[in-house]
Amino acid sequence: MQKRLAEGLVDDDGALLDHGTPKKTNVLGKDTLGEIRGDMEELKLPSWFRVAPKHPGEVRWGKFKADEWKSFCTVNLPITLSRLWGKRPKIDRHYRMLDNFLQLVTAVNLANQRRITEEQIIRYHSHITTYLKGFIDLYPFASITPYQHLSLHFATHLRRWGPTHSWRCFAFERYNGVLQGLPTNNKFGQ
């Protein structure tokens, strides 16, 4: 809050000031994406693992599915980014971005456990809080999205309902996919 106030991003009440639409900046960039693609070809993965599309960031390869995002963010990015940025000095911006991102990956991995304990829930909350604090610090012009806000309530849900696989919406999403695939042109067999 203090940092945002000092940088003129928010007013005294904490409301974001309108500076127009900020210019989009690339976090990864072409070179890094090239390294990621190179590593994807070398990476050894078990056959059951849902691999992410080989050309991330290219429009013609379409959108990622949820499972592909998970693979890309929890396996491909940590492997390549830790190799590229993990050796830099701790004050380097890219090192801090990597450290911040790995907090998110740890939180996601913990939230996806098939068994969950109170200790893991506490760790999840600690990592997601650290991630979001670091996010505000590293990317001051970015806003916290509703999903990022909701992730702070996720520990409560884990305590109430247990591991996510029994109440998450993947099954419903799958049915949405099935319904979207049904022909609606009123022509039998086409």
């Binding site: 050894k44 830790s82 190799r83 740890t106 991995n109």
Partner: protein, 218 residues
């Protein structure tokens, strides 16, 4: 017709369970052994992605958590004998001939929708827990069924020597970024119950001098 289907299913279920129990008997005649693999194949149920699959995974993890309370007796005479053999033979040639005659060698095992395989296949690259060390990476050499329990012979990867620690760029966040391991394997093999396998891992070679492997458990 009403009721016949249930009756038929019930009888078949009982028959398969009786046979499964019979096959675990220690005094089973050797002539029956070839049937077991066929039986397991015929009655194997694909429960991937179902509630039953989730329930099964709870059971497996629970047994791991109990610290071996329900673990198979790996100190049985045959198994202890294999362990002796593995610890006393560095090259471990002819291991297949050394396992008990009543054991059934399996080409692969599926658990919770994940396929574990012997050989150099990525499905054989696993993280396992060992009684004397922290979880470590290894390659599956052989999987076999013995006395209704599944055992795995693993060739572990060498620990990274302390002098190579500066190469480690994973920030100490092994849970998210993985860790560096030597790309070379130990000469000695380890025998563990299948329940000691924790997960597969993704891997990529990150250097040739020394040969290093970036290991990320998945």
């Amino acid at each position: 017709m009403a009721g016949d289907l249930e009756k038929s299913k019930f009888l078949r279920f009982c028959r398969s369970q009786n046979l499964r129990h019979l096959f675990t008997e220690a005094q089973l005649p050797v002539e029956i052994l070839p049937i077991i693999a066929t039986f397991e194949k015929r009655y194997k149920v694909n429960i991937r992605g179902t509630l039953l699959d989730d329930a099964g995974s709870y059971g497996i993890e629970q047994r791991i958590k109990l610290g071996g309370k329900h673990q198979p007796d790996i100190d049985g005479s045959h198994i202890a004998c294999i362990r002796d053999y593995l610890s006393s033979n560095d090259n471990n040639t002819g291991i297949k001939e050394f396992i008990p005659s009543r054991a059934v060698v399996l080409q692969h095992v599926e658990r919770n929708g994940r396929r574990y395989q012997s050989g150099g296949n990525p499905n054989g690259l696993i993280i396992f827990s060992s009684p004397d060390t922290t979880p470590k990476a290894g390659q599956i050499v052989l999987i076999f069924l013995y006395s209704s329990h599944t055992f795995v012979i693993i060739r572990p990867f060498r620990e990274l020597e302390a002098s190579y620690r500066p190469f480690d760029f994973t920030l100490g966040l092994a849970e998210a970024a993985g860790y560096l391991s030597s790309a070379e394997v130990e000469s000695a093999l380890i025998l563990v119950p299948f329940t000691k396998i924790l997960s597969h891992f993704a891997s990529i070679s990150v250097g040739t001098e020394p040969p290093l492997l970036h290991v990320l458990p998945i």
